[in-house]
Amino acid sequence: MRLLALNGSPRGPKSNTRFLTDEFLRGFAATPTNQAQTLDLARPSDRDQALAAFWHSEAVLLGFPLYADSMPAMVKEFLEELATRPRPEQRPTLLFLVQSGFPEATHTAPVARYLKRLAGRLGCVCAGVLRRGGIEGIRSKPAWMVRGILQRFRQMGETFGCTGQLDPQTLQKLAGRERYLRFALRLVCWFDRVMFWDRELKANQTYDKRLDAPYACP
């Protein structure tokens, strides 16, 4: 199978989306005849290549981070331009990867619903939407903390590379829990505040300005 992997993260090659995509592709490559090409939509030259290659691919994996509860504007604008291009009769199978910083799966559910509809609008088969929350900072976490999640993405890639399909139940499992216990969430948020945000603010010497409201109405 020939797979075109599109990274729709505005952060480009050093993004969490690309990190997960690469893991998926490691699994995909387990089938020796499979071929994959990865393009970063944040790079203008890659974007042009993606527009040219999209309709001629056998399968396309489009990954992105959740931005304001849906796809980044960069991805939406890419899709809008793509839809104006001539479409061949034989169209690619589409697969989506959506990751969010917040841990609950409830945040990514609406855009997944949209993506399934989008695939139909483009005249493509949707092989599934890989969703996962709690991904912010995954690239800097210790290996033992992320091993499990990376393994799941690799397995997903292997299954898709072998069968061209993904099981809806496995996708649901990957998405994780819709909601978490309030106490657990508050603990995680507090930890996040102290161990990450406040540390970064202090390192940038902006901790005292963290609550600034420069656009407040007079």
Binding site: S9, P10, R11, S15, A42, P65, Y67, A68, D69, S70, M71, P72, A73, M74, V75, K76, E77, F78, L79, E80, A83, F102, P103, E104, T106, H107, P110, V111, R113, Y114, R117, L118, R121, L122, R179, R182, L185, R186, V188, C189, D192, R193, W197, E200, L201, N204, T206, K209, R210, L211, D212, A213, P214, Y215, A216, C217
Partner: protein, 183 residues
């Protein structure tokens, strides 16, 4: 009431949509409301790059040199912000979405889980309520309307606001103006 109309009609613009928004602006003004319209396609608004500088390096402000300041000032001065665009591929335009992503500095980096679901704490005590206005495509179905409403409802919640209405340009402008003002 002060209404902000964010016109997300992309390039090349659909003249019917611009004309509808002009009528809506007139209807709101006739009803005694203040109206500020931002034509997003004429503004220099760069993509949000997810750098988090607006939280960590220049708290409350985007580090990009574009017209985000004008957008943020207008947004925070409004009582209701109308997110307006034609539907493109079953959802609001990428141009409108780009402007919404530039609102990230109105939030703090800290996450509030007190409701049992994560969202960022607000930076400002007052933010406008939101209304969505769309022009349907020839093949718009109930599922598209439902998904559009669901996504914008979640966005409103996570922006510490609320979605007061999801309206179509198939409605008369006076009716839309009333719906916006009522909420």
């Amino acid at each position: 009431m002060n209404a902000l109309l964010l016109n997300g009609n992309p390039n090349p613009p659909d003249p019917r949509f611009d004309a509808y928004l002009q009528d809506l602006s007139r209807a709101l003004t006739e009803q005694g409301h203040g109206v500020n319209t931002l034509e997003l396609r004429s503004m220099d608004l760069r993509q949000c790059s997810g750098c988090f500088d607006c939280w960590l390096k220049t708290p409350g402000d985007c580090a990009t040199r574009d017209q985000h300041g004008q957008l943020l000032r207008a947004y925070l001065a409004a009582d209701v912000a109308v997110l307006a665009s034609p539907l493109v591929l079953g959802f609001s335009s990428g141009l409108l979405k780009r402007s919404i992503e530039k609102l990230l500095p109105i939030l703090l980096p800290y996450v509030d889980a007190s409701s049992g679901e994560c969202r960022h704490f607000p930076r400002y005590s007052k933010v406008p309520r939101l209304a969505v206005l769309y022009q349907e495509e020839s093949d718009t179905a109930d599922e598209d309307r439902a998904v559009t409403r669901e996504i914008w409802s979640r966005m409103a919640r996570n922006a510490n606001s609320s979605l007061i209405a999801c309206l179509s340009t198939a409605m008369a402008t006076r009716e839309v103006a009333h719906a916006i003002a009522r909420a």
